[in-house]
């Protein structure tokens, strides 16, 4: 099977906020509009639309994909919503990629939207519905439980301290201070601030967690022959991978995300990458909680097991470092409108690799970056590699 080369040629996003006045449709429209404007295309140039949005219960709209379709630019076009929980934001550009790589379409819009503030009083309660209805929900679990349980297992397995893990939150939130769309950027945050924040579900404290947010992001993908006409700076999708582990999350090794490893290996093989640590110049691992960035860097083979923290301790993770991590500010800093947050990471790679990331720009003309998201019942890894 011969696959066509696919480029990202345009990107746009809304600011991420705690409560937007805009409806989900209006958020999606705004992101799509700026993405089209960024590459000077109109809706007539778009052959198909791929949409990602997380559980319907956040926006509070059953069949949210159908509701969002015309706002995403899909009026009378081939359109499909994809969904793999928190992994959706990086899956939806993968979906866009195979729409174009297969030869079916030349130009595709990729859109992700989430309006978590619609779930009221608090979006956390929606997560009760992801647990097994018969053997877990009667215990009244909340989402913090599974993160806290995984974090504790991860910390204990490798002997990591809370103070070290807090460095992740500090770096990402500081990075986010340079992002125009960020909800929780803070140039002055310290490890002490994280350690002194409210304990929600030990070992998880408030500043270990990304904020509930509203927002939308859109990308424009194009086949090679079209991409070269649209822009002289196409950013190529070099590899994609995804993988789901068992939904029986209490039967798994919680200290190591094997499914992320398998998704990453699929993407590395496609991209011809043999030594990820040397060949990936920017990493945007999924960071809804600070320890998750470490967990994922290990699954992505960018660090040895239990050793990802060293990237933060020795400065490699900084923008000026050897392997900049979440130069965007990540979910911890920019915000976490679930599907939109994952796609924000892919948009960040697009801007970074084109040298258009402004104050966030990683020095040294980075050539290749990786974005990853994670979700479902702690079971999915989605990985995309962009290069120029």
């Amino acid at each position: 099977m011969s696959l066509r080369k696919v480029a990202v040629v345009g990107a746009g996003m809304t600011h991420f906020v705690r409560r937007a006045k805009e409806t989900p449709q209006e958020l999606a429209f705004k992101a799509v509009r700026v993405a089209l404007d960024s590459c000077e295309l109109t809706l007539m140039d778009i052959d198909a639309v791929c949409l990602g949005t997380a559980p319907d219960s956040f926006d509070g709209i059953h069949m949210n994909g159908e509701y969002l379709s015309q706002a995403a630019g899909a009026f009378r076009k081939p359109y499909l919503r994809s969904y793999v929980g928190g992994g959706t934001g990086v899956f939806v550009p993968i979906q866009g990629w195979y729409h174009v790589a297969s030869g079916l379409f030349d130009v595709v819009l990729v859109v992700a939207e989430e309006k978590m503030s619609s779930y009221y009083p608090h979006a956390q309660a929606a997560f009760l519905t992801i647990f097994d209805h018969t053997i877990e929900r009667p215990l009244k679990p909340n989402l913090l439980w599974i993160f806290a349980l995984e974090m504790n297992r991860y910390m204990t397995t490798y002997g990591l301290s809370k103070a070290d893990i807090a460095r992740v939150s500090v770096l990402h939130k500081r990075n986010a201070a340079d992002h125009p769309c960020a909800l929780l950027g803070d140039p002055n945050i310290t490890v002490e601030d994280v350690l002194q924040s409210e304990t929600l579900a030990w070992p998880v404290q408030r500043l270990d967690v990304s904020p509930v947010s509203d927002g939308a992001v859109a990308l424009v993908l194009a086949a090679e022959h079209v991409a070269r006409r649209i822009t002289d700076k196409p950013v190529w999708i070099e590899g994609v991978g995804w993988c789901l582990d068992t939904a029986y999350w209490t039967n798994r090794d919680l200290a190591y995300p094997r499914y992320v490893e398998m998704a990453a290996k699929m993407a590395y093989e496609m991209a011809g990458i043999k030594e990820p640590r040397k060949e990936i110049h920017i990493a945007e691992p999924y960071d809804p909680f600070d320890y998750k960035a470490l967990h994922h860097l290990e699954g992505l083979q960018l660090a040895e097991r239990g050793k990802a923290i060293e990237l933060y301790l020795n400065g490699d993770a900084e923008r000026s470092g050897n392997l900049p991590i979440c130069p965007s500010g990540g979910l911890l800093g920019v915000g976490n409108p679930i599907a939109a947050a994952g796609l924000m990471k892919v948009a960040e790679l697009f801007w970074q690799l084109r040298g258009e990331a402004g104050k966030r720009q990683v020095p040294g003309n980075p050539k290749r970056g990786l974005a990853q998201a994670w979700g479902d019942l702690m079971q999915v890894g989605t990985v995309i590699i962009l290069g120029r």
């Binding site: 006045k21 209006e26 109109t42 219960s57 509070g60 309660a125 519905t129 209805h133």
Partner: protein
């Protein structure tokens, strides 16, 4: 499929539960204008896309056909035409209703509103019938689609 277990337990066949989803929906940029005009001025607003020569009712922030941001709100009047309708004999929970209710799609400009038809026996309603919105008294209006009590035959 399973071999019988040595102790014969009585297994529950069902587990009952619900999805505790409660939502707070903002009207948003375009619909907030629509509802405030309905509440304060008793008007139905549409929004015009001059490029596509369409007037959308209720208004949307963007034109779905060309994806241009729209700003030209227009008063489309309180009248419309029944595009299609149904006569409902059941309540939402499936119980029989005391009186059959006519629910119609009322075409207004290039869009329309789903609402109740009142003031006429159900069997006299027809497609193409001209209808007008009956509004609640100003003091009772809250900025909701229910500020329109119903549509009734007109002219």
């Amino acid at each position: 499929m399973f071999s019988p277990f040595s102790i014969n337990f009585e297994s529950p066949t069902q587990w009952h539960g619900d999805l505790p989803v409660t939502s707070r929906y903002t009207a948003g940029i375009a619909l907030e204008r629509f509802f405030i005009a309905l509440r304060d001025e008793g008007k139905i607003l549409g929004i015009r896309c001059s490029r596509c020569s369409k007037t959308y009712v209720p208004p949307t922030l963007f034109c779905p056909q060309c994806l241009t941001e729209l700003q030209e709100f227009v008063d489309v009047g309180l009248h419309g035409e029944i595009y299609t309708y149904t006569i409902s004999y059941r309540n939402l929970d499936g119980s029989l209703s005391n009186a059959p209710q006519v629910i119609a799609f009322i075409k207004i400009a290039d869009g329309g509103i789903i609402h109740k038809i009142e003031g006429i026996p159900p069997h006299q309603v027809f497609i193409g019938m001209k209808v007008a919105a009956v509004l609640k008294p100003t003091a009772e209006r809250s900025g909701s689609i229910l500020d329109i009590c119903a549509f009734k035959p007109f002219g």
